[in-house]
């Protein structure tokens, strides 16, 4: 069963615009992570936010977490064509903080 679900499934924007994608989950978590996957490649870790944190930044990435709504958002500012990829959220529950359960992802296309 899926723990996290990303929304939208697909997003197409122009270079320079901001991209926002969301993740909703069902049960209490220990942490939530975002990963990027370029076509035909493995996943790359972007950022981890713990359940007691509300916001984290890393370069052009901003992640928020609202545990009351069981949701998170990933904002990519000033997008570039190289940001074209699929983005996945992964949640780890308290019972097994080492087990990351992935959603089906948001496919982002950034047009030059």
């Amino acid at each position: 069963s899926q723990q996290g679900e990303e929304d939208p499934q697909a997003l197409s924007i122009q270079e320079g615009e901001n991209a926002t994608m969301n993740c909703s989950y069902k049960t209490s978590i220990n942490n939530l992570q975002w990963y990027r996957q370029n076509s035909g490649r493995g996943l790359v870790h972007l950022i981890l936010i713990r359940s007691n944190e509300r916001e984290k930044h890393s370069g052009r990435l901003r992640v928020t977490l609202d545990t009351s709504k069981k949701s998170s958002s990933l904002l990519i500012t000033a997008s570039r064509a190289a940001d074209t990829a699929s983005y996945f959220c992964a949640t780890a529950v308290v019972a097994n903080a080492g087990k990351s359960t992935f959603g089906d992802g948001t496919t982002l296309t950034v047009k030059p």
């Binding site: 899926q2 942490n31 992570q33 990963y35 490649r41 493995g42 996943l43 790359v44 870790h45 981890l48 996945f88 992964a90 780890a92 097994n96 903080a97 080492g98 087990k99 990351s100 359960t101 992935f102 959603g103 089906d104 992802g105």
Partner: protein, 118 residues
């Protein structure tokens, strides 16, 4: 540091044949994962090891899939016999996470092994 190594990168087999995938994790990483990613979907965890012990294999189809990590380093995932629905990319990942509470479960993934079952 060297990344997670996987082989083979591609494999095509007939249904009911067997196949094995190999993974070498990042040196020192205690936890190793095998995920199955079907086209258009997110990765689904098949099995989680800590050293050479199984932590979670609740979603591993044990009638046809098996995995081992005998010396707590390399791991092998086997499918026997393969079905059409096993066509997917098999991703290996590792992390420094330990169930005792140390380490973060930040996963480093290999490039994956793409299996096509005809």
């Amino acid at each position: 540091e060297a990344g997670v190594a996987q082989s083979p990168r591609y494999k095509i087999i007939e249904k009911r044949q067997s196949v094995a995938f190999w993974c070498n994790p990042i040196s020192g990483h205690a936890t190793l994962y095998w995920y199955q990613q079907i086209l258009g979907q997110g990765p689904k965890l098949l099995i989680q090891f800590q050293n050479n012990g199984v932590v979670d294999d609740s979603q591993l189809p044990k009638d046809r899939f098996s995995a081992e990590r005998l010396k707590g380093v390399d791991s092998t995932l086997k499918i026997q016999p393969a079905k059409l629905e096993d066509s997917a990319v098999y991703l290996c990942a590792s992390s420094s996470f330990r169930t005792e509470g140390s380490g973060a479960n930040v996963l480093t993934f290999g490039a994956g092994s793409r299996l096509t079952v005809l």
